[in-house]
Amino acid sequence: MTTDIQKFPDPGLPEHQHRKADHDPKAADAAEKKVAILFLISALGAVLLIYSYIFVREDVWFFIPVMGDTNAKQFGIGMGMAISLFFIGMGAIQWARTLMPDNEVVAQRHEFRSEDADREDFVATVKERAGVAGLGRRPFIKRSLGLALGLAGLSPLVLLRDLGPLPKNELSKTSWKAGTRLVTDPGDRPIRPSDLEVGSVAQILPELAPGQKRTLEDIGKDAVLLIRVRPAEFNLDAERLSWTHEGIIAFSKICSHMGCAVALYEQQTKHLLCPCHQSTFDVTRAAKVIFGPAARPLPQLAITVDSEGYLVAQQGFTEPVGPSFWERSS
C-alpha cells in the first residue's frame, strides 16, 4: 500500500430529478387536485365536529369493533377535530412535496470561532475593562459584593418559610390511644372478635369522638388492617403476641416504605403485599419484610377488647407509621 492513500472522491450533489408535475401541466393539475381534495376532507372534518357538538345527543351510543360501545358525541367531535387538523397537515405537506420547488439549495456555513484578531481584541477589551473597574485590585469590594449578592439571592428563601408549619412530632403521632375502638372503614361500626372469621380481613380506622370529623391527614396515618389467623400460626415474641387478640392482629396500613396502602392480604400464605413497590410482609412474623424495597415491618397496633367486648387499642402505635424520615429514631 502506498503512503499516499486516496479517499473516494465526493461526486457532488446528485443531479436534480424533475417531478412529473414540473414539466407536465396535466400532472401539475392532478397534483393540485389531490391537494385540494385533502383540504376538502379537512373541511368535512370540521363540519363533523360542529355537527356533533350541536346536534348529536349525549346519550347516543354505537358499536365500533375493538373500541366497543362508543359515545357518538365524543367520537364525532374528536374524529371531526382529528380529521380537520390531520388533513390540513396532509394537504400542506403534499402541496410542498409536489408543487413547490424541490430544488435542493446549498447554503454555506461559517465557523463560529471569530477571526484571531477579533478574539485577541475581545480578550484584551475584557481584560482592560475589568482592569478599569479595578475588581482584581480591590479584593474587599469583590468579597463584600459576593457576600451581598449571595445573601440577596438566598434571602427570598426565608419568605417561603410560611409555606407550612414545622413538622414537630406530627409524623410520629396518630389518633390511636389506649382504649380507642377499632371501627370499620367505611361504616364506622365497632367490631367484636367474633365478627371476624379466621382468614378474614377488615379495613379499620379509630373511632371518632362525637362531633369530630375525620380528615384525610388522619386517615393517612391512622388506617389499620385487621387480620384474623389461627393463633397457632403466629410466630411472635411474647410481647407482640400479647398485642394480638384470639388470633386477631392489627397493622398500620400505611407502607413503611413510601406510604401506599398495604392491603393485599393473601389469606393462604399470610403475606401482605404493597401494590406500589411490591414489598411483601409476613403477617405471622409481625409483618417482617420478606421481599421488596421496604426496610421495616409495618408497625403493629396492640389490641384487646373493652368491657363491652369490642376491639380497642391497648395503646397508641409505639413507633411512627408510614415512610421513614430523618428524625425517626428506629
Binding site: Q17, R19, K20, A21, W61, V66, M67, G68, D69, T70, N71, Q74, F75, G78, G89, M90, I93, R97, T98, D102, T184, D185, P186, G187, R189, I191, R192, S194, D195, L196, E197, V198, G199, S200, V201, A202, Q203, I227, A261, A263, L264, Y265, E266, Q267, Q268, T269, H271, L273, P275, Q278, T280, F291
Partner: protein, 272 residues
C-alpha cells in the same frame, strides 16, 4: 338496608329448587357466618334436621368426592400436603370452586383458574351437600336473594370496593398481580352469586369478608358497583384494558410515535 334485612333476604333461599338440601346450612348462616371452623360446630345439629333426600344427595356427593377430589383433599376431606382441608369450608365454597370450574384443578399450577366446570349443577350441589355435611359453613347463595339491582347503591359500593377490593382486583375490577405468580382474577363477567360467595368464603388467596365488617347489604352494593363497572361503556374510547398508564404509554410509543414517524418519512421523501 340494615344487616337484618340482608339476613331476611337470605332466608328466602327456602323457595329455591335446591332449598331442601341447603335448608340446614341456611339456618346456620342466619345464625351467622361467624362459625369459622369445624371445631366450633356441633355435628349433631346437622344430623337431626336431615331428611332422606338430603342424605341421598350427600351420599351421591361423597361418591363424587371420593372419585374426583379425595386424591388431593383426602378420603375424609381432611386435606393433604397439596390441598387444604375442606371440613367447615361450607357449601358456598364448594359451589364457588366447582361451579366456576376452578376445582378440580387440572394441573398443579400456582392457582386454580376459572374454566369450564367439570361437574353439572346437580353434581356440584351434591358435592356441596357432602362437604356441608362434614361441618357447618357458609351456605350456597341463592341468586334470587341477591337483589343487588334493587337494594345496592353504586356509589356506596364504589367506596367499599376501593377500600376492600381494588388493592387486588384493580380500580375497575380487572384483576391484578399477587406474589409468586398468583393473581387476583378479573371480576368482569363473574356472576353475582360467585362474587358474593367469594366474599364470604375467601377462596384461595382471597381473605374472607365477614358480614359484620362488610354487611350483606354492603356486599350487594359492591356487586352493584362491579356490575356497573362491567357494563359501563368506555366513555373515553377504547379502554386499553383499564389497567392504568402502562398500556397508555405503550400506545403512545407504538401508535403515536409510529404514525408520526410514518408521516415524517413521507414528508421528507421526494415526490416523483
Amino acid at each position: 338496608m340494615t344487616p337484618s334485612n340482608g339476613i331476611k333476604k337470605l332466608s328466602r333461599y327456602r323457595r329455591h329448587r335446591w332449598a331442601a338440601p341447603s335448608l340446614m346450612v341456611v339456618a346456620l348462616l342466619s345464625v351467622g357466618t361467624t362459625f369459622s371452623i369445624a371445631s366450633e360446630a356441633t355435628p349433631d345439629a346437622t344430623s337431626t334436621t336431615m331428611n332422606t333426600s338430603q342424605s341421598v344427595q350427600i351420599a351421591e356427593g361423597k361418591q363424587l368426592f371420593l372419585k374426583g377430589c379425595s386424591s388431593c383433599h383426602g378420603l375424609n376431606a381432611e386435606g393433604g400436603s397439596i390441598a387444604p382441608s375442606l371440613i367447615g369450608v361450607g357449601a358456598a365454597s364448594v359451589d364457588f370452586q366447582v361451579g366456576t370450574g376452578r376445582m378440580p384443578m387440572a394441573d398443579m399450577s400456582q392457582q386454580a383458574m376459572r374454566k369450564k366446570p367439570l361437574y353439572n349443577e346437580a353434581q356440584t350441589a351434591a358435592l356441596a351437600a357432602y362437604v356441608a355435611s362434614l361441618a357447618p359453613g357458609p351456605a350456597i347463595v341463592d341468586e334470587a336473594s341477591l337483589t343487588w339491582e334493587r337494594d345496592g347503591s353504586t356509589s356506596a359500593g364504589g367506596t367499599l370496593f376501593r377500600n376492600n377490593c381494588a388493592m387486588c382486583h384493580n380500580f375497575s375490577g380487572q384483576g391484578g398481580a399477587l406474589t409468586q405468580g398468583k393473581y387476583a382474577p378479573t371480576l368482569m363477567g363473574v356472576e353475582a352469586k360467585y362474587i358474593y360467595e367469594a366474599m364470604i368464603t375467601g377462596p384461595q388467596s382471597m381473605p374472607k369478608f365477614s358480614d359484620k365488617t362488610i354487611t350483606p347489604a354492603e356486599k350487594l352494593s359492591i356487586i352493584k358497583w362491579v356490575k356497573a363497572a362491567q357494563t359501563e361503556p368506555n366513555l373515553g374510547g377504547a379502554s386499553l384494558g383499564r389497567v392504568g398508564p402502562v398500556t397508555e404509554g405503550l400506545l403512545a410509543w407504538t401508535f403515536g410515535l409510529g404514525i408520526l414517524i410514518g408521516v415524517a418519512v413521507w414528508l421528507a421523501s421526494k415526490a416523483r
